[in-house]
Symmetry: C2
Subunit: 197 residues, 2 copies
Amino acid sequence: YAPTRCAAAQTSAEQGVLPPCHHHEAVHDPQLVPCTCPLYSCPWEGHLEVVVSHLRQTHCINILQGAEIVFLATDMHLPAPTDWIIMHSCLGHQFLLVLRKQEKYEGHPQFFATMMLIGTPTQADNFTYRLELNRNQRRLKWEATPRSVLECVDSVISDGDCLVLNTSLAQLFSDNGSLAIGIAITTSKVHNAEAEM
Amino acid sequence: YAPTRCAAAQTSAEQGVLPPCHHHEAVHDPQLVPCTCPLYSCPWEGHLEVVVSHLRQTHCINILQGAEIVFLATDMHLPAPTDWIIMHSCLGHQFLLVLRKQEKYEGHPQFFATMMLIGTPTQADNFTYRLELNRNQRRLKWEATPRSVLECVDSVISDGDCLVLNTSLAQLFSDNGSLAIGIAITTSKVHNAEAEM
């Protein structure tokens, strides 16, 4: 267990809007990628290899190690929009978990959770991530292929192609305002790796 | 695989409203239960032991056998409100799967799926049901204790204490307008059975 909600989350709520997705437009040098932190419209850009250190140093995003970890998102009652972010180091790569509270329908905040690989889309296809909630004799599991941070987390969430929780379900899975999300990463089956070759 | 959407589903849509929950009010003789089919405001009442034959005969609801079955809900494009109903015979009991398409937020239909035991709440506590969707490299699993049909399926769904799917996710899991839902029932752990004694 690790309480890891970054103070940056509030900034997003104060702005009242989520930063626009500007990843693709901003990249002129194909070797450079913009900051992948969804909390800020950050002007930083750099090579993919240094994205992790940028996220840690500039955006104080924690990193958890291990094949299976539990991320404890605290203060679930905070008003939408709010993001909870954690990095997960596993199988030689770093992944970004984004948990977002957002009002798709006014007055009805929902929670959206997805994982992004800090790597290319081709690399992302080699992995499967699993998010699991388990409490009060209920269990909810979501498994999918992570997206690359080069894609836009906003569109993943607006498409609803992620773990989606309404408020009442989030409360059932929460303990004292905190939501424990089990995270596991595995490599996809061999045929996926072969299809890439 | 068994295509099992009952023609009754359309009736609900034509009425434009879901029948009110009248289970508790309608029971005068504690030995008698009202019709548990959520599609109709059916005047029938009878003993719990004959609910299954009433559902089969009067509401043409199919019954599938086995510990693990797949229910194929067809015509997912039908307008809300629509219900898909199947009975599942397993471990000496009958369960009712209710899949409901409903607009909680106007213009945004969602799908809600839950299982009810055709039995008492005390009996229901002895079981765990699992609903699983698996397609397009995505997997979603929901596990919970079934409710008793003596409780109100409407309140389970309005509370959102069930498997909830937005339209885009339902489409990702659908094949040609049909949604295959894997269903498994298990007995709960021993301590649950002991707690009841």
